[in-house]
Symmetry: C2
């Protein structure tokens, strides 16, 4: 609730409107805190706003991610997941085998991003990266592959 009050002026500043659907969607993302798939958002937000539809959820998540209110990520489930962009300055490292997930501090990527920015001319502002690898456990298990 409070969270949507906070976002309302920011949305309006970009020509966007604060609808009850968006209140509900922002609310579940705020309450949950972590990554949510569109379907999860839909199921949860529908409890707050029963007339909510799937196309609205997909369009809203996409729009809010484009405007940097949300971060989108692929975490290997095949489906996109979203989270509030707020206090997030992290990246993800996920085991291809068992899905074990750890966070990577943004600091660990700063040097690489700097180098790539120099050599490519691209800017990496707001990047939210997911790496895939083999976790220590799965490395042992797979030795005799």
């Amino acid at each position: 609730m409070t969270c949507s009050l906070k976002y309302a002026p920011q949305l309006r500043a970009q020509g966007l409107r604060m609808t009850p659907q968006r209140v509900a969607i922002l609310h579940v993302l705020h309450q949950t805190g972590g990554h949510l798939s569109p379907t999860q958002v839909y199921e949860l937000a529908r409890k707050e706003h029963p007339s909510l539809t799937e196309p609205t959820v997909y369009r809203t998540l996409e729009e809010l991610a484009e405007r940097k209110f949300l971060l989108a990520a692929h975490v290997g489930s095949g489906r996109m997941v979203y989270e509030l962009a707020e206090n997030h300055n992290h990246h993800h490292l996920i085991c291809r085998e068992c899905r074990a997930e750890i966070q990577i501090e943004h600091a660990a990527l700063e040097k690489l991003f700097g180098e790539l920015e120099t050599s490519s001319g691209y800017r990496f502002i707001d990047s939210h990266v997911t790496f895939f690898g083999l976790c220590p456990k799965c490395q042992k298990i797979n030795k005799g592959d």
Copy 2:
């Protein structure tokens, strides 16, 4: 054609079989050379093997990627894309705005991967990463955002 002959023994070594469906799928990936979505693979491979079905394409691409014959990547289209793993030691950098795409040499990531492997215990063998950023053109256009 030649390409599937090459893969047949490698598949068998892993308990997999070389079916006409797989011949067709490998063939289009080989001919095309670049990233293809499952739907693109389906449409192209169907010309070689008309009875091919979508579930077979999805399952085959997933299986072959798991076994490292293929590389899978998200390139921002929302859909997964696949390519032959063969001579590929690259990563991708894509403009969030205009989708302009450049390749990144694997060498550019080696130091970072080394550091992350040390600090996390994960191994990054066979990683195929996609970064998103803003290309030089789009940085200029968006200055007054």
